[in-house]
């Protein structure tokens, strides 16, 4: 089991956002964390990546607890945030070098991966560019390349399609599919399952900080009719 969330309650200070949520992300699967604005998707992610501390419950990643082995725990995690965040003083190439060094990746293998990814996302001629010259979509692609050159066992992707063009969305989905086959797991937040239909294996529907429904992705429309209806 890649990620296991057991009876997690948490939030910000005295405000409890998540109420006793539990779900798992099995190896080699894509789990969609679905919900409307304010349902607790980002709060859940903030707990998993360690930006918030649970009030109750536990988060286990490949038998590791964040507060006990933070460095090993984080080395198994790659994160693509909803809003791209970059180091303004680093070029694209230096962003990749930093990621390679921070994750202790084999330079040769990592750069081979990077080259493929840079080609896929049409960034190969922009290695010496600074982020100030990047559009929002390009910044998002930089986030994707930085995440996908790692050997992380779990990818957490927060609203990945915002700002991406159609070709980039398809390329990202292909990448996810290929890494899934290698056993990598994905937890991806989205408002609706529409874009990732056919790629997601299961879903967890959050409503007011609680798991309102969960199951196979194919059962989404049946189990969460309110989102399916609102889409129509």
């Amino acid at each position: 089991m890649s990620l296991e969330i057991k009876n997690l309650s948490g939030g910000y200070g005295k405000l409890t956002v998540l109420k006793d949520i539990s779900f798992t992300v099995p190896d080699g699967t894509l789990t969609a964390l679905v919900g409307l604005n304010g349902s607790g998707k980002s709060t859940t992610i903030n707990h998993i990546i360690g930006l918030l501390q649970p009030k109750q419950g536990s988060i286990i990643l490949n038998n590791l607890l964040l507060n006990q082995e933070p460095v090993t725990y984080k080395s198994q995690l790659a994160y693509i945030p909803e809003q791209p965040v970059v180091y303004e003083e680093l070029t694209l190439k230096e962003h990749l070098e930093l990621t390679i060094a921070a994750y202790h990746l084999d330079e040769k293998i990592a750069w081979q991966r990077a080259e493929e990814l840079l080609n896929t996302f049409r960034l190969n001629d922009k290695l010496t560019w600074f982020p100030t010259h990047f559009s929002k979509g390009m910044r998002q692609k930089v986030m994707i390349v930085m995440a996908f050159i790692t050997d992380a066992k779990l990818f957490i992707i927060d609203e990945p399609f915002l700002g991406l063009d159609v070709i980039a969305v398809n390329d990202l989905l292909k990448l996810i599919d290929s890494r899934k086959k290698e056993g990598t797991s994905f937890l991806l937040t989205t408002h609706v399952l529409d874009t990732i239909a056919g790629h997601a294996d299961q879903f967890v529907y959050l409503k007011d900080g609680e798991v309102a429904a969960a199951g196979a992705a194919s059962e989404f429309t049946k189990l969460v009719p309110e989102l399916a209806v609102s889409k129509e």
């Binding site: 910000y12 200070g13 990546i49 460095v71 994160y79 965040v85 180091y87 680093l90 060094a101 921070a102």
Partner: protein
């Protein structure tokens, strides 16, 4: 908010912001160090005006200094915000009034600053140029008036499109950029002591330092070292700060001697380390900085390793200049021992304690947010 009060509201908010940051700046040991430095600077200035030789060179230098006062604080502020040209599209007269009031405000402030700088130079003027108070007063008034006029001319030029002839159209976008640059310069000063939220960094490639960044980063085998070294060099504020304080220290080393010299160098070194501290949590808003599998010990080491070469260069320059000026072996040894010991405590213990404290505060704040 009443739009007629736009200027009053904005000026009040800006000064509230400045006072808030000033409270933080003067809230550490820095205040003590700054007072001692100001005292020492005053004494050095007094000695300079009493002993400066009266000849063409010193007179020319003083005239150049007076002219240089024009370079500082000549730019007007306009209080225009990015959203204004869009949000207040329906009533541009409000913005035009704001612009007019801001220009008058800038003329007054720049005139006052010019007056203060010139009054500070009066003792030198009396010593080197003339004994006549009337002449000095008249010159001061003329120079202040010229500064006010210069501010007005710059403000009038800024508001128009470069190729506009007889057009009444105001270049709002240019005014917004000018105001952002103006604010950047002011807030950069505070940012040297504290973290000022929302300040957009100015990045320059600095190709000359590429090999240094690579070699120093690889040598440390710590991924964050490269990040800190790169930020130090490409975010020009840090290189400038290092350069400025190294020059101040060099002047102190040249013009003073004995324990006064040693104490001044220690205080300046302390100020240098203190003002470099914000570099250690420069990237705290970037989630990856928190997510990378890096221990807190590595973070501290990376910062120390990144600033060390610059501080060693500074100390070497100061020691050489002090020795050339005094040729005293005893003073050289005294400076060397004090700077190395106190420098070591500051770089290795003080920075560690500060970073640990700020990390702890950050974690607590994140959990309580």
């Amino acid at each position: 908010m009443k739009l007629t009060h736009l200027f009053k509201d904005r000026i009040a908010k800006r000064w509230q912001q400045y006072l808030k940051y000033l409270r933080y700046v003067f809230n550490d040991h820095a205040v003590l160090a700054l007072f001692i430095l100001a005292g020492a600077g005053g004494l050095a200035y007094q000695s300079l005006w009493q002993n400066a030789p009266i000849n063409m060179w010193t007179k020319s230098i003083l005239l150049i200094v007076i002219l240089v006062t024009f370079i500082f604080f000549k730019n007007p502020t306009n209080f225009i915000k990015q959203a204004d040209p869009t949000a207040l599209l329906g009533d541009e007269t409000v913005l035009r009034t704001l612009l007019k009031q801001a220009t008058i405000y800038s003329m007054i402030v720049n005139g006052i600053v010019e007056g203060i700088l010139l009054v500070a130079l009066w003792p030198m003027m009396f010593h080197l140029l003339t004994n006549s108070l009337t002449l000095i007063l008249i010159s001061t008034v003329i120079l202040i008036a010229l500064k006010i006029l210069l501010t007005y001319i710059i403000a009038s030029k800024q508001r128009l499109f470069p190729d506009a002839k007889g057009s009444k159209l105001i270049n709002w976008r240019h005014l917004v950029t000018t105001e952002e640059n103006h604010q950047f310069i002011v807030l950069s000063f505070y940012n040297l002591f504290i973290d000022v939220p929302g300040i957009t960094p100015k990045i320059k490639r600095q190709s000359w330092a590429d090999s240094f960044i690579k070699v120093w980063g690889r040598h440390s085998r710590n991924p964050l070292t490269t990040l800190y070294v790169t930020a130090f060099i490409r975010r020009t504020q840090y290189v400038k700060l290092w350069f400025r304080l190294t020059i101040f220290g060099s002047l102190a080393a040249w013009f003073t001697t004995g324990w006064l010299q040693t104490i001044l160098l220690i205080i300046l070194f302390y100020l240098l380390v203190l003002q470099l501290m914000p570099l250690s949590n420069l990237h705290q808003h970037i989630v990856f900085n928190f997510l990378y599998p890096i221990t807190s010990r590595q973070r501290i080491q990376a910062f120390q390793y990144a600033i060390l070469p610059w501080l060693v260069i500074t100390q070497l320059i100061w020691l050489i200049i002090a020795f050339v000026a005094t040729t005293s072996i005893n003073l050289l040894l005294q400076n060397l021992i004090c700077l190395v010991v106190i420098g070591g405590v500051l770089v290795f213990l003080y920075t560690k304690q500060k970073i640990n404290k700020s990390t702890q505060r950050r974690i607590t704040r994140a959990f309580k947010k």
